[in-house]
């Protein structure tokens, strides 16, 4: 066993207490410290200043957060506007079915909508549509589809058609006619 008396503990005198910051009434520096000018009432002032600073910081932070929220909202609205502009349906007037050998009795309009990676052109009255990689391709494909549908439906009697195709047939008949042939007769007369 090693007793405490055998160890070399440093002696703790009055000066040591003073060095470590303990209030020791007998400290030699006490008098000198007491002569320094004291700022009376600094604590409440400091606390008030800190509180004011904290309030200012919180106001600035709130404003910045609000600004960031608004910026985010503007960005989202901007993206939505852009998406809506791209996806906005376009109405395209159809004046001719060329190059197909059909003529239009009267022009009609088709609706072209964007579907993320392709376009759909629809003749809404007849519920006939077609897709394409571009808006122009979709309209051309729709013309092709209208002609194909017209030919197919013309071969069938009404009693061979369900309500949907029957309606489609009558709508198409209202707009489309087979073009009369031109060609050799005209050449022969020249």
């Amino acid at each position: 066993m090693v007793s405490d008396s055998h160890m070399n503990w440093p002696s703790i005198g009055e000066e040591s207490f003073c060095q470590w910051g303990f209030d020791e009434p007998t400290c030699a520096h006490e008098d000198a410290l007491s002569e320094e000018p004291r700022i009376v009432g600094w604590k409440p002032n400091a606390l008030a200043a800190i509180a004011q600073l904290a309030e200012s910081i919180s106001v600035i932070l709130a404003a910045r957060i609000q600004q960031q929220v608004l910026e985010r909202k503007v960005m989202l609205l901007d993206a939505r506007c852009e998406a809506l502009e791209v996806a906005r349906p376009t109405v395209v007037p159809i004046q001719t079915l060329a190059p197909f050998p059909y003529r239009l009795v009267k022009p009609f309009e088709v609706l072209v909508t964007f579907h993320g990676d392709h376009y759909v052109a629809s003749f809404v009255d007849a519920n006939i549509g077609a897709s394409g990689d571009t808006d122009v391709e979709a309209v051309l494909n729709l013309k092709d589809m209208l002609v194909s549908a017209f030919e197919m439906l013309a071969e069938l009697n009404d009693d061979e058609l369900g309500p949907g195709p029957c309606m489609q047939k009558h709508v198409l008949e209202e707009f489309i006619r087979r073009a009369e042939r031109r060609g050799r007769d005209h050449k022969g007369t020249g």
Partner: protein, 91 residues
């Protein structure tokens, strides 16, 4: 992204036992029920299986999500017949 791709369009046609008739830019899928043509739609030519065919849902009288289900497994031809009968597209 397309709701209905060419692959799904072909599956829908197959599921509805549609008769495929070659056309110009399209093949036409004809759906016949009880001897009457009840619906038809075009399937684009080309090798791209993911080519969009979002014109099909309205032509089979379904909304896009149900048309997609028809191309996938959940919705059967019998379900489709029931739906379009309710919409008056068979009588």
């Amino acid at each position: 992204m397309a709701v209905i791709t060419k692959e799904l369009a072909e599956r829908i046609a197959h599921k509805l036992d549609a008769q495929i008739v070659p056309g110009g830019a399209h093949d036409i899928a004809r759906v016949v029920h009880d001897g009457r043509l009840v619906a038809f739609f075009g399937i684009r030519r080309g090798s791209k299986k993911d080519a969009g065919h979002d014109h099909i849902p309205s032509q089979v009288f379904l909304n896009p999500s149900k048309a997609r289900l028809l191309g996938q497994c959940p919705l059967s031809k019998a379900d489709w017949i029931r739906i379009i009968r309710e919409k008056g597209k068979l009588s």
